[in-house]
Symmetry: C2
Subunit: 214 residues, 2 copies
């Protein structure tokens, strides 16, 4: 059985849950409590020296890390339903939208970075929130522009069925809502996320539905 | 002709130059001076609303963004020499090593983030350097552990020929050297980077060799 090491609120683990669900794959979950620092334990680092979730342990015991690498692996092994279009330039568009979230927004706003701001740089709550919102705004401004003006967009980020881009966008919006970012300037993003959230694969992947939700 | 919008010192543009060179593809370069803020100009944003380099404009006028998405596109259109192994779990390993650099280290240390630290959070030079080195150390500790203990590693990050992982690692090490990070704890990383730097594709991609180098 495939085992997902994750945490209910981790955006990156949430991405992998969505991908697994969209492909209708069964998996066990092992929660790693990031707030308690369990990702730094010897036991977990034996699976993933990065000390990061998610890690996916496959049937044959191979450990895979980094959410986008895991999603590409799932796509290669279980190509249907597909998370990427067929045509190379369209695949590049989907991957760029995914990377815009995964490389430009999320890395700046995850728990370990916010902790560094507070503990090492002695940043107060207000400045921490401003930091968080600044990177969401910068990234979502670009994403909204791309989704609005590029012909590929549909009910989802690319076309009318979920791709890797939606797999990344939905957890990022969940996260932005937690930090009370103003999403009114992003009607296209909001519409796409609402469409995705209506799908069972996204619903079952939601943080509130996980065994470690609190 | 393919046109690369980049900046000689940008890690992400450097990655794409290496990939283009490894695949022996010809391209024009249009420099976008990040220090002067040219990436925020109307002209450049018409190509890429993200206001980020690199952007690759293909023969038929399609603009591609996000370095890893561009590299995957080049891989799909020009599969030989390959930047990814054939077997899905090995491809996942290479992509995870690439993402470890591209999502966990580089986004925290690029110019716009360092500027935010200085201008908005009023962080002094020493604390800025400590921030930079903290994320390099965290990332390289994990990378060194993976490269040392995993069977896939060779003269390069995976096997003995360059992959997407080396395409990301070499620019990150260049960057770390610029900020005088101590790389003595990372013998495996240093050996791999030395091997890559001996190859013409990497040499021609180096920042010092670009038309806008200063």
């Amino acid at each position: 059985m495939t085992t997902l090491y994750g945490y209910f609120r981790s955006s990156a683990a949430y991405r992998v849950r969505i991908a697994l669900n969209l492909k209708d794959l069964e998996y066990d979950q092992v929660p790693v409590n990031l707030v308690k620092g369990e990702q730094r334990s010897e036991t977990f680092r034996a699976h993933n020296p990065q000390g990061l979730v998610p890690a996916l342990v496959t049937d044959d015991g191979t450990t895979l890390t980094q959410s986008l690498a895991i999603c590409e692996y799932l796509e290669e092994l279980h190509p249907s339903p597909s998370l990427l279009p067929l045509e190379p330039a369209e695949r590049a568009r989907v991957r760029a939208l995914a990377q815009l979230v995964a490389s430009e927004i999320h890395p700046l706003n995850n728990l370990r970075v916010l902790k560094y701001l507070v503990h090492e740089l002695k940043v107060d709550d207000e400045a921490k929130l401003a930091w968080y919102r600044h990177w969401v705004t910068t990234g979502f401004d670009a994403l909204e522009a791309m989704l609005s003006r590029e012909a590929g967009s549909g009910d989802c980020c690319h076309g009318d069925t979920p791709t890797l881009a939606d797999v990344c966008l939905v957890p990022q919006v969940f996260n932005a809502e937690r930090f009370e970012c103003d999403l009114t300037p992003y009607p296209r993003i909001r519409r796409i996320v609402a469409n995705c959230r209506a799908l069972p694969a996204f619903q079952r992947a939601a943080p509130s539905e996980q065994p470690d939700a609190s």
